[in-house]
Symmetry: C2
Subunit: 362 residues, 2 copies
């Protein structure tokens, strides 16, 4: 057993505070990683505060992890000590279901779904159809810690050209926005709309632009215009500007909503071309009522999408290296985390907090 240090919450209302906890050391196919940096995702807040009603405490979040390989199991072939590697939202999956065997572990249909990096597995034993927990673990601990142990095939390679701290958000925010663009066939020349300009939205703008798309950011905040343009957006539209919205009727090939809570996507369906899709990746909760009069009129779809596969995660990392993309981050120390949570909720971050885990040692 390894004695580790991290920041965790003991209840939905408690702040994160330093704890010591134990991890099982690396098995034959596992990698022990010294965590260098970990992004602060809005999901971390939802989970810590039990907003999805499934949190197991203590809750030690963090799934945008970049670190250095410290030790490898005897059967490990994919990574070696000293490699700069990444860990995203998953650290294992059932490896047997159709989704897993097709390389879509993020849609694992096993009885416990995939093993989340923290607060895993996604489906606990008590809620599994088999009433069992095939992972043998009731609560995983994430990247707000000094070390983490992960099966080698769920560990990503961080390209050398990417700054590790600015690459960390690609492990969740990057792949979460990249995966639906790829799956729904977004291509060069497409008109793409991005709703929301936070951690996910700002990366989505960079990715869509690098894919050769004409990118429009929709926002309620006029003061985000400059930031959106600086990120590379070709157009910025205020969603209460009715004339601007009307002028965009039936012009978009794809719209991605990154807004992290319940919202109304109805105003965006008239903006999509026939047969196109609006995908919401930020709000994992009931949306405002969808008006089927709108979706029916041009046979449009509303879709959900959940992070991305391990293959897609490596793909987005390599795509970012090839296109010189990283997240715009603000580096914080671990003792600033509770304050950072509040700022994330208030949209007061440009655009992603990343924790420097070196600060855990001080």
């Amino acid at each position: 057993m390894l004695t580790c240090t991290g920041y965790a919450a003991e209840s939905a209302r408690a702040p994160l505070r330093r704890i010591q906890f134990e991890r099982t050391g690396p098995g034959p196919s596992e990698v022990l990683i010294d965590v260098m940096f970990c992004g602060v995702c809005h999901s971390d807040i939802h989970q810590v505060r039990d907003e999805w009603h499934n949190t197991v405490y203590p809750c030690l979040p963090g799934h945008e992890i970049v670190g250095k390989v410290y030790e490898i199991g005897e059967a490990v072939t994919l990574h070696k000590v000293g490699d700069i590697v990444g860990v995203g939202c998953m650290i294992d999956s059932c490896r047997k279901c159709p989704s897993c065997t097709e390389g879509s572990e993020n849609y694992c249909e096993g009885p416990n779904s995939w093993l989340a990096t923290y607060n895993g597995p996604m489906v606990p034993g008590a809620k599994a159809p088999t009433r069992e927990n095939s992972y043998g673990r009731d609560n995983t601990y994430g990247g707000y810690s000094n070390q983490i142990v992960v099966p080698e095939d769920f560990v990503l390679k961080i390209p050398a050209s990417l700054k590790p701290e600015a690459a960390a958000p690609l492990l969740c925010a990057g792949v979460t926005t990249f995966s639906p663009m790829r799956h729904f066939g977004v291509k060069a020349g497409d008109k793409v709309g991005i709703l929301g300009l936070g951690g996910l939205g700002h990366i989505a703008v960079k990715l869509a632009k690098a894919l050769g798309c004409e990118v429009t950011v929709f926002t309620t905040h006029a003061q985000k215009r400059d930031a959106a343009e600086a990120l590379g957006a070709h157009h910025v539209v205020l969603e209460n500007d009715e004339d601007a919205m009307r002028n965009l009727t039936a012009s978009f090939d794809f719209i991605l909503s990154t807004i992290p809570q319940k919202h109304d996507v109805n105003p965006y369906f008239p903006l999509l071309k026939r047969d196109k899709t609006l995908v919401a990746v930020g709000a994992l909760e009931p949306m405002a009522p969808l008006n089927n009069m709108l979706t029916a009129f041009h046979r449009q779809s509303f879709s959900g999408s959940l992070i991305g596969s391990i293959k897609e995660t490596q793909e987005v990392l390599d795509f970012c290296a090839a296109n010189d993309i990283t997240a715009d981050i603000e580096l914080i120390t671990i003792d600033q985390i509770n304050d950072a949570f509040e700022k994330v909720i208030n949209g007061d971050v440009r655009f992603r907090y990343v924790i420097d885990l070196a600060s855990l040692k001080t």
Copy 2:
């Protein structure tokens, strides 16, 4: 001008009553049809009662029309006097937009959208971006009448083997359920779920079965079990049977909701396989809030779909002839129409009322 007779409502609260009105006689490319039969669609009720807030009065409904060609314009080549023909929800479209030129007139993107058979055009001049009405008509009158005039290429051929009165509902209910099954790739061997067992639902069951699918009807009414099985459904599931619903997890390739008002589709997403779609064709209004936690977990889609193209309408008629499918109907006289509306609302019809327009003459 032709002086015609029909049943129309003068206001949202008025019953339908006999009126005389004028139609412009057939132009060079138009067909004058003696209406024989007209189905009673739930949309007729929504429109008559202004439930979509766009009704123009008098409102003379009816868009499941079968009749006999009485007269043709000089340039007509597709039909001849005496032919048994059909008219569905549309009688014209802009003929210029991408959807029209691609043969998807039902998704016409012209300034006034398509010309609905009644209460057309879909987008009136006052609401059009151009503020004009390119059809030159502010209110069309439907099939609850003795005659109708329609451009020849919006007139369908009724195969000789189909009983005209039982074929009428194929013009709307048939194509509305057939079109999304074709568009979303439903094929032999697929597991298909049908929600609701009314006018649309009962035809959807027959069509899906004829396509070679394994068909499950979901209903809230235990007494519909026998009827569903008689229509050919392989399985009938009561939607409040939690065990039955759980046992169907991730097993469906396609689910079609034909329920004609706001309802909750969330319980059905866990039943769909990954990447599959639930299409709602009955409720053209805001749905109950969609929980994106459900759709995201297996990257599923909610889609709308609006009737079908002229090509698809002919296709469903020919498919039904080849597979010996018609609607299960109850034939009524025109003076029973107000009572029939109430029974449709109460689900008290097996499964489609069709008006025998011969009764208009008596």
